[in-house]
């Protein structure tokens, strides 16, 4: 089992199968799924809509988690800390996209290998930067809702998962509304659908993409706050989440927001059931197995465009 993985803290491995347990696994899976959807939504914008091979997204998220940890040291509530970090991450994201565009996208329509390698390098730099700044130890934050749990009948649900799920839903709803109702939001969707047409109409697709990438990065800051609420965080945690986030985005069908929630739930529930039936050592393979299955059978995803 990987350190800092949120999933395995829930079950006692000596438990025997029963329908009650299955019910618990599904409930827990739904909460976990909302959380997975929340951490994937930024990538859903960056990779799904903008087509940027952003393999550094989970690393940005972990950086957000560490930012939250620093602010929490000054007495911030973790969620408030995540929200405070958002403007900063927004600007950093815009800068990163501008750099990526100037270096690769401008020269050709597809940066290909070099684009992927670039973001891979960025992920390494972020990861090691965090190790240099904070060391390899696990970090946690304190809040009233972390560590306590709520009883539902015989079940006890850790409150941090309820908070995580709640923030996830609010985040998804806000972003969905933003993309469908506001002018800029629609422009982002337009640039994803047909960039040349947008250019012909006199709009600047690069500025819109830069803005959207900024939003994706800002969302990653809040996702990072959720990450450290759900469980302890360490610099190398991004390696686990590369698989989870990409499998959610691909399963969703690139760029679909409702799809992202549905795919997150599917991943959460299947991971939680596998965890219950076969134990924690099999859980990491679930997201990746699901991803390979989707790529092989239905590469356009569940809600593909």
């Amino acid at each position: 089992m990987r350190r800092g993985d949120p999933a395995p803290h829930f079950f006692d491995e000596s438990m025997i199968f029963s329908f009650e347990l299955l019910y618990e696994a599904v409930v827990f899976g739904i909460l976990l799924g909302c959380f997975y959807a929340a951490v994937s939504i930024g990538l859903s914008v960056a990779f799904g809509l903008l087509d940027v091979p952003h393999v550094a997204h989970p690393a940005v998220m972990v950086a957000g988690a560490y930012g939250t940890w620093v602010l929490a040291g000054y007495g911030f509530d973790p969620i408030l800390a995540g929200l405070t970090l958002m403007p900063l991450f927004f600007l950093a994201g815009m800068a990163l996209y501008r750099f990526y565009y100037e270096a690769f996208a401008r020269r050709g329509s597809n940066a290909g290998v070099r684009g992927i390698a670039f973001f891979f390098g960025v992920a390494l730099i972020i990861e090691v930067g965090l190790i240099v700044l904070f060391g390899v130890d696990q970090r946690t934050v304190e809040a009233s809702y972390i560590g306590s749990s709520v009883a539902f009948g015989d079940m006890r649900i850790p409150q941090r998962f309820l908070v995580g799920g709640g923030v996830a839903l609010v985040l998804m709803a806000t972003l969905t509304l933003y993309l469908s109702k506001t002018f800029t939001g629609r422009a982002i969707k337009a640039v994803a659908q047909d960039e040349p047409a947008l250019r012909l109409m006199g709009a600047d697709p690069v500025r819109i993409k830069q803005w959207a990438f900024g939003i994706a990065t800002a969302v990653a800051a809040l996702s990072g706050a959720l990450l450290i609420i759900i469980g302890p965080v360490e610099p190398a945690l991004d390696r686990v989440y590369i698989g989870r986030t990409f499998s959610v985005v691909v399963l969703a069908g690139l760029g679909s927001m409702t799809g992202t929630l549905a795919a997150g739930l599917i991943l959460g529930i299947s991971e939680s059931i596998v965890l219950m039936l076969f134990g924690a050592s099999w859980a990491p393979a679930v997201s990746f197995g699901l991803l390979l299955l989707v790529l092989a059978v239905r590469p356009q995803g569940l809600f593909g465009r």
């Binding site: 270096a103 390698a117 090691v128 698989g243 099999w282 990746f288 590469p299």
Partner: protein, 311 residues
Amino acid sequence: MKFWIPSGLLLAAAAAAALIVENEYFFFAGYTVLMFVVLATAWNILGGYAGYVNFGTPAFFGLGAYTAAVLFKAFALPLGLQILAAAAMSGLLGLVAGVLTLRLRGIFFAIATIALVVIMETLIVNWRYAGGATGLQLLRPPPTLPFDSYIKMLFVLMGAMAVGAVALARWIEQSWVGRGLRAIRDSEEAAECSGVPTLRLKVFACVLSGALMGAAGAPMPMYLSFIEPASTFNLNYAIGALASPMIGGTGHFLGPVIGALLLSSIQQLVTVTVSSELNVLIVGVLLVLFVVAAPEGIVGLVRKWMRRSSG
């Protein structure tokens, strides 16, 4: 001949050194450097020529290492057969992964290969016979004559494999296969329209690249007398295999070799003197720097410099 004479001389020098020099550490470190030469060369066949990024080096490498370890545990198979079997298994993995995902755009293949690593690691962790999460202790057989130590023998063996891998990459680069792969990298649609069998070529490159990675992993259990999943499926192999060609230059068969030699030497220096984190940081910064500023790598820089000084 321009290729075979120098590489034959290098190999002979390595063998002679192994027979004369006493200090084992030199060979212990040299083995790792040569292993990364093989891995980087293997990566470049698919990543450099065809433009499909493979993050799954640890999956192929680890499958090779575990194939060798399990065959040794079960039948005490000799090392040569272990390497062949490892190459076959990893090549098979390349075939399956390639057929499933190489139809899709490059980024999907890249993500799928990350998935392969975790799936392979999970399978091994849950396989008791192969030692599970705790690993497997293996007893080395005595070294084959004329070598007096096993590490020295492995060093020369890995040197031979490195020459073989580079020769294979060179053949691909200069044959119609390489031309087809480069056509795929530049424009897949155009290649398909001109009658290049794109999928077959990509899968072929993926199988070959995977088999070489598996072969590079096969001597690992003997090298350490021990095998364990977390370090065998470590992402650092993916970093080394990807960064070396990108830094050295993906267009020429010497690019991965130069990159691997450079990165491994930095690694030896920095890890011993400062820290292993700093080493990863240096690799990351170099990777970004080269990808942005020198897309043709060191080989490209040298070529440009030579052209300028001659003309």
